[in-house]
Symmetry: C2
Subunit: 203 residues, 2 copies
């Protein structure tokens, strides 16, 4: 048991170089033009090194995602309200959705590459829903929905709400210069979902 071997210094240096290179390439090219080999070249390493570090293309993207999502993760888990614990579920949900839309919007390239990686992998044991980052997001959203409205299918609604972060939709909005719309729309949606029930049996 006890502590397993530390990552060697040169390995850590290369890991950082690879992540930075991938970051840079994704910032200026579409995900389908950022092959693992190009990332390796840009990082000044061999292709084999990248696979040794990250397992496969998905592993690389996942590592990048975790890096980017880290701040939000901590803010949600132990930061001040309304993002962190303490505020009522509806408030927290709205705050989280705004934050996660913002995060996604600022990292469309990465998100696209992540979806691309999932879609192109040969043996599809992994999916978007098994990515740690997504699992955390979904757990949080579903938890808040369940807390506020136990009678709803919180798990499913969580997936649906987070589905609005799919690259295609986000990129479309960005291209049309309307990055605000999604957050607004989701705020409305959350309000209607968690807000006071509209006298359900009126009809």
């Amino acid at each position: 048991m006890a502590e397993q071997r530390q990552e060697r210094a040169d390995a850590a240096r290369n890991r950082r170089a690879i992540l930075r290179a991938a970051e840079a390439l994704l910032a200026e090219h579409g995900p389908d033009h950022v092959s693992v080999e190009r990332v390796a070249a840009a990082a000044g390493v061999g292709k084999g090194t990248v696979f040794h570090r990250f397992g496969n293309r998905m592993g690389l993207m996942r590592a990048l995602m975790e890096e980017r999502a880290n701040a939000l993760h901590e803010a949600v888990a132990s930061g001040p309200p309304p993002l962190g614990p303490g505020a009522p579920p509806e408030t927290r949900l709205i705050a989280f959705l705004e934050a996660v839309v913002d995060l996604t919007t600022r990292n469309v390239g990465l998100m696209a590459a992540n979806e691309h990686a999932i879609a192109t992998q040969r043996h599809s044991t992994e999916s978007r829903h098994t990515s740690p980052v997504y699992v955390f997001w979904h757990g949080h959203v579903a938890g808040l929905i369940a807390e506020a409205r136990p009678e709803l299918d919180a798990e499913l609604l969580g997936h649906i709400v987070l589905g609005s972060l799919h690259t295609e939709l986000v990129m479309g909005l960005l291209r049309r210069g309307e990055p605000e719309r999604l957050a607004v729309c989701l705020r409305d949606l959350a309000t209607r979902l968690l807000g006071p029930s509209p006298c359900p049996h009126a009809g």
Copy 2:
């Protein structure tokens, strides 16, 4: 102008053979195991023929999608209520969502292959949102939402609602033997969205 040349008889025969072969392969293998070449082989046709007919992998999938979605399309456009015209928007929306969930559920393989085709294409000028089938579905949903609740962002909500048909979610539910959940959840969602407003400015 005037009518362009008819498709030749042998070409039409091959087109059908290809579609049937693709259908059969998709019914029993994951989309990533159904390459264009395999479809061609199964149809007893050269690979080039498939590309000549359908342009690229996406074209093939799109043709299959249109075939499958045709009945629903007509039912919505000119069939009897509640699917067709005549019923109030909320009723029509719920009926349409149920039908489209059912259609998707019964064709997960095709849907998966379609998403796969979109994700793996090199020059991403095409997207899910530009597929004729999706455009029709979205137009219908967004139209109904707008009709019932003009103050909402119907276009965006349409995309979000239809986003719940993504393969990953649907397949997950099917694997867990809960194919009904999605339709139920969407019915709830539609009801809450289009139902009586919960006194929006209560806070």
